[in-house]
Assembly symmetry: D2
Homo-oligomer: 352 residues x 4
Amino acid sequence: MAGNTFGNIYRLSSFGESHGEAIGGVIDGCPPNIELDLNVIQKELDRRKPGQSAIVTQRKENDEVEFLSGIFEGKTTGTPIGFIVRNTNQKSKDYSHIADTYRPSHADYVYEKKYGIRDYRGGGRSSARETVSRVVAGAIAKQIIPDIKINAFVSSVGDIFIDKPYQALDFSLTESNDVRCPDLATAEKMEAYIKEIRKEGDTVGGTITCVIQNVPVGLGEPVFDKLHAELGKAMLSINAVKGFEYGSGFCGAKMKGSEHNDLFNTDGSTKSNLSGGIQGGISNGMDIYFRVAFKPVATIMQEQETINSKGEVVKMQGKGRHDPCVVPRAVPIVEAMAAMVIVDFYLLSKVY
Amino acid sequence: MAGNTFGNIYRLSSFGESHGEAIGGVIDGCPPNIELDLNVIQKELDRRKPGQSAIVTQRKENDEVEFLSGIFEGKTTGTPIGFIVRNTNQKSKDYSHIADTYRPSHADYVYEKKYGIRDYRGGGRSSARETVSRVVAGAIAKQIIPDIKINAFVSSVGDIFIDKPYQALDFSLTESNDVRCPDLATAEKMEAYIKEIRKEGDTVGGTITCVIQNVPVGLGEPVFDKLHAELGKAMLSINAVKGFEYGSGFCGAKMKGSEHNDLFNTDGSTKSNLSGGIQGGISNGMDIYFRVAFKPVATIMQEQETINSKGEVVKMQGKGRHDPCVVPRAVPIVEAMAAMVIVDFYLLSKVY
Amino acid sequence: MAGNTFGNIYRLSSFGESHGEAIGGVIDGCPPNIELDLNVIQKELDRRKPGQSAIVTQRKENDEVEFLSGIFEGKTTGTPIGFIVRNTNQKSKDYSHIADTYRPSHADYVYEKKYGIRDYRGGGRSSARETVSRVVAGAIAKQIIPDIKINAFVSSVGDIFIDKPYQALDFSLTESNDVRCPDLATAEKMEAYIKEIRKEGDTVGGTITCVIQNVPVGLGEPVFDKLHAELGKAMLSINAVKGFEYGSGFCGAKMKGSEHNDLFNTDGSTKSNLSGGIQGGISNGMDIYFRVAFKPVATIMQEQETINSKGEVVKMQGKGRHDPCVVPRAVPIVEAMAAMVIVDFYLLSKVY
Amino acid sequence: MAGNTFGNIYRLSSFGESHGEAIGGVIDGCPPNIELDLNVIQKELDRRKPGQSAIVTQRKENDEVEFLSGIFEGKTTGTPIGFIVRNTNQKSKDYSHIADTYRPSHADYVYEKKYGIRDYRGGGRSSARETVSRVVAGAIAKQIIPDIKINAFVSSVGDIFIDKPYQALDFSLTESNDVRCPDLATAEKMEAYIKEIRKEGDTVGGTITCVIQNVPVGLGEPVFDKLHAELGKAMLSINAVKGFEYGSGFCGAKMKGSEHNDLFNTDGSTKSNLSGGIQGGISNGMDIYFRVAFKPVATIMQEQETINSKGEVVKMQGKGRHDPCVVPRAVPIVEAMAAMVIVDFYLLSKVY
């Protein structure tokens, strides 16, 4: 109810503030007898962490996950998996300047109004650092469904976008560059642009596209828990996300039925896939693909006017390192959330 | 778990197939002592029903809601509200031609594969007729929060769109025309276009924009149940929806932080509202606005090739009346789902 | 949250007041392709209804269930099953004398204080008539697991009790007498006693024992959703229930470990079964058995002093027919709730 | 779904095995701005821990709770409270003798059959050590509702029981003796008996009575989530519990309505309280009282025959220290679970 649990069968209950003792969670409903590769989990955390490349924040965080339960002799036991990631790099004094100030387009103001109290250090619970727990849970989810491939990548940064259908891309190139864009020419342009933005002390938004392959027919629970509705909620719950579309998306809203309908092949597959692999809220076996919009990060290295808790106008400016474009770092988060949604419906589909 | 319940505190459990006995539901968690205006509820149903204007399907349905419990002497009692709407107009023979055939871009195929059985009459549970229950529950939800104004309207049909910010519109004009577009010049173009589409036996998609005013600060439960994440899920659960964006949405993904940040006024309101009334997943008291993309309806009056359950190619063509553009009829559904989400968080916000 | 939904995978959302239009519910999560015997469902309703024998209330109710969805050509479709049972016999005028009065040991007072409004006719939502929905949902649940046998029977009325272990009973005799006691000599004594109580205008309590056979190993979800914890909650949610014990129960609390431990046979079954078929919250394949205590019905045909809503002392006396002992009529309700719990865990057990 | 989350508004998600790294949990839904006394929490853990007195297991455990989030400058923030208690005293080698053996009346066999794998060390997840998390969550819950008094005590051990109504007891004496029995003469007898049992290498069961005072009218959500149904589930979810009764309980099943009805005083209180403070599933402002039955602990220091995973008969005997009677140590657990249930409904009652 209070918003910190995700999933039904495969459930993550998450906790942790940016500058508290630790980020962590409890995963309940993980099937037993899954042989977990802990290195793979750590590798996903490394894909998310700050300081990993020249185009993201240079703040160093070394996110090491410690598992506390639910794993015995390398295998899951069916009991809840508790885990923590210590916040090793918190320097609380850095944040004293915002204790009493509401940063524009951050959650400071609404947390204060909603709860009457807030841990102001680094955004507290509203910090994207919270996504550490999601990445851990997603990395385990992926290992439950090894045959299903979840491929997220940066498809646009500012006005620069991949001008090809996803079928023309080689997903194995996503990790070959710092932007996580599998189209290398576009990646180069994006990288140059992000560096420029960084020099300005500014930030920029972008989009991530995610393609999920080898999904069995039948996942999703109409009418309210349609597969794409849960995917949409999952994506919209990630910090800075402003939009979600799947299949033909907003473009589909301009089309005619005669253009949009996906005609069948005799094996039940479809000739086109404007449906995005989902019909009536249920996977149809075709590729699922969707696109997620991220706004530019609110913390900029430029002076802005804002207010404090007394309603007085104050000037503020981000200090130290900043994150000119979080979209590359959000790629493993999008994959993690997608993996959790798919596993949840996959496990539920065994019931009937 | 099986997907037919929506909400946490204010919950709708819905049932009913297009051509079964009735559509209905149970609303649990409605506060007691709400004086219900049943005419208003019926009026909302009338806005949704087929046959109401020249540009929607001409199929006549007279959707009359019967309340079975939870209301005593005109007021809610705090006990569950059971209700049904009889399916008076079902002619099951009309659908015999699809008993064994999977219509393109419909849910026939996936229902058959998922459940191993399906009520093929009129789409069964996958029919948009299911939204009758949502409209009833939404119309009650609105009466719990009379001060909050929920204004949905058609903002585009095909390539025709309102070329103004929502602040320039007069929402009282939405119901003045069949398209439910408050910009009358645009409405006229849309109407003409839909009539053209109908003549072709084709269908067309569109978008609905929704603006919610007078929302108190503090609604929404981070981190997973962010207000916009629940709104997104709610919208994506409506038939034919392909995308959702709020505030700056997909446009925001192209912007810089220095352009995008909403600076504060001294009273906590913001000078711009690219955040769309929500920060960190919590309402900030500014207008909430979002946009929903609807694909064109799959049933067209043109011949299409498809397959039957034996995997044979067959030709099919929609019979009788069709719905060239469902977007106008979806306006009350968008409002109903938004109302349910807002009420749910509104009630929950009383806890703390 | 508001308490009218039961179950996780197999879920009943229930509605209806004693003297409203109808009692009913929505069953979500019923597996598809179950061939339902509707006569069996009706038969269970008949076992619950008033007026069925000489020792229960003589109020006539003819409870006919109407299914509205989720069943197609005699089989479940996997979509929600909506159903209603009309309240045909409500005479609202009969209840005017309690509109303003709180009956002792009824829920009148607490409903008034909690909700600030109440449908006073016949107890409204607090009436045991609500259990009609449970019996319908339970009768369907039983048909999902035909191999599992659920046998409830009256094991005591007042001080009269069956002085034999359940293994010495022939459950096929339960329905042979009005008390639903499979030990015929005891049944006779109980029946005579209930008739005596009725003459006095008084009521009496009793216990029901339930034995569930052929339960597969592995049902139940520790640590909080232990099989017996859910059974206990299910039973305690039935009107007038004051206690629940399973296996050795309260007697077990007096025993030593050396007496109480169930030693294994080599096939994993146990030599004794003081555990009651459940260990660590998980079924072990042995018979599950438990006992449920019902208080005497509060409505008696004797004059009592009570208070009205102004806090004034008033005299009241039950009018018309009364129910000297509801325990026999509660037998199908106990079975229904047990069936719902078992089906819920049975379906969930397919996940892992 | 997988059973490791308790509560709706105030929710504990728990994890941890007896001999894993740590026991812990996430508490979601704790209201903000509660000033927490961490010493009180630790004190509750000390009441639960082994080795605290002469009559419980002498195994030393030093359970220190570490809070990881959700508390800022001594106050709750409304964000989830993550916490862990390290397992400092696990000697895994001690348990090698049961790796392949199923102990009688333990959960070894059913865990193996259900999950196909089990952490056999000390019972793993089925160990009562799991209740550490409950005690932490309960100790916080108590601080949310300081005016409500929750008093649990040992009311019987074997055949020895307190022969007085609870109103004749002085709850301040409960902690004055190792048995946690407020009737000192009875406490002495119980203590002597437990010492005798310990010498025999045997164990014994008992009951705990709990009295909750100052509960506001209106807690509980009929029809399924009645206050006593949730209390019953909470208690039955504790290790070794075999039964639950409230108010008149099983005795009430022998009574007549004319004896059992609680007549009103003019202020809405009742002259007697056989209802146990709950009517129709809703608190009525009178004392809530209930009784919980605990079986004798299965681990005894006597030789027993049992089977191993190959179905062979083997002899086994508990090693080292044992717990002749866990009932005294279960007192804080009963209180913790009661506190969680009461807080959950208390918070929910603010909604309407």
